[in-house]
Point group: C2
Chain length 229, copies 2
């Protein structure tokens, strides 16, 4: 007991596995499950979060759930509410703050990337822009979103700065979360291709301030489009 992934603990498991795999701690599994439940919207914003319910649900004790909760509170996805916890309640102000954070991180990332990016990444970025173009013309909504995410990730990663990357990864799901809750989609803008292309051009030319400027305008454009709704 206590070593099988949540959800398999009663039903048993297949013995046909050919490698030995050590399950993550229950606390970590609980963390990921709760996080996923919040970000996917299965847990409503403001909904009360009760440790013991989930512990029972998963047939584990409250300790690992508590530890997961501690981390989620630190990350802001859960909030202490007098006595008890509730799911983070997003506000427009938060969303605005988040976008300014994006501006800070990603514009800086573009600036740094201009000096550090490698040829293979540039190639990938160029491909990405073209794939985005196709997705836009064919009206492939999910495609646009996923290519867009990849575009920004590639640039942030090419800074080789672990803090920027970590920060980026911590707020990216939140943006999707807001879009899920508040907005239908923010991909109506067709300028995205041109703006991405401008960033790539600046990166290719190793023009740091130019890359910064392009990325800054791109994200701020996104923000103003969203705010108009």
């Amino acid at each position: 007991m206590g070593y099988f992934p949540i959800g398999l603990r009663k039903e048993g498991f297949s013995l046909t596995e050919d490698t030995i795999v050590r399950a993550k701690s229950l606390a970590q599994q609980a963390y990921h499950l709760i996080r996923e439940a919040i970000l996917s919207g299965r847990l409503q914003p403001g909904e009360r979060f009760i440790e013991s319910r989930w512990a029972m649900e998963w047939n584990i004790s409250r300790s690992p759930v508590r530890e997961a909760v501690r981390v989620l509170v630190a990350e802001g996805l859960l909030q202490e509410n007098g006595n008890g916890y509730e799911v983070f309640r997003p506000s427009l102000q938060d969303f605005h703050d988040l976008y300014e954070m994006r501006l800070a991180i990603e514009a800086m990332a573009a600036r740094l990337a201009a000096e550090r990016i490698k040829e293979p990444t540039l190639v990938k970025l160029q491909e990405n822009v073209e794939q985005t173009q196709r997705a836009v013309t064919t009206g492939d909504g999910p495609g646009i979103i996923s290519y867009n995410t990849e575009f920004h990730l590639l640039i942030v990663e090419s800074t080789n700065n672990s803090r920027l990357i970590h920060s980026f990864q911590s707020y990216t799901p939140l943006i999707d979360y807001y879009c899920l809750l508040v907005l239908t989609l923010n991909q109506q803008q067709t300028d995205i291709v041109a703006e991405h292309q401008a960033v790539v051009d600046a990166l290719r030319a190793k023009q740091a301030t130019d890359a910064y400027e392009r990325m800054f305008l791109h994200i701020r454009h996104d923000l103003t489009v969203i705010e108009r709704m």
Copy 2:
């Protein structure tokens, strides 16, 4: 038992209090104590961190200590080490990454502050610059550091952006930490006053891009000075 602040649990406490005060949870107290111990250098980098030792030390059970550890791991101040934990081991690369993070956050903050800063804050900033000037001329090292910290904090706070502020507050102690460990002091540069003054001037003139640029150069200057050592 279990409801008095750590350190008072055996000695009892005065009954002359005239207000009811709720003690912070043991987990929160443990969190702050551990964090303080790390940042002050009393816990050496790389030193193994043993939950049960500290629980015994404080006469509490391991549960609250564990919860504190969870948060500190999430923040990066403790690291999982196979089986067990150890104190975050800073590296030069980390320090460099941290400074680029500063560039991202604080340059953006200056940009936003230019549009949002209020007159009283501008006055405070101007006073701050003059106090810094005096501290520099009298060779008051600690004074320079504390005025410098205040300067940057004032600007970040005047963005009214909770994410930027939170990010700033999470890395600020780390910078002091690095300075404590690696460097004697990074305040040998006397340009600090002129650079701060330039930022304040740009803010007063509501020149966003100018404020951005000044702050960017100021912090990068700091970084290059440090790196030369």
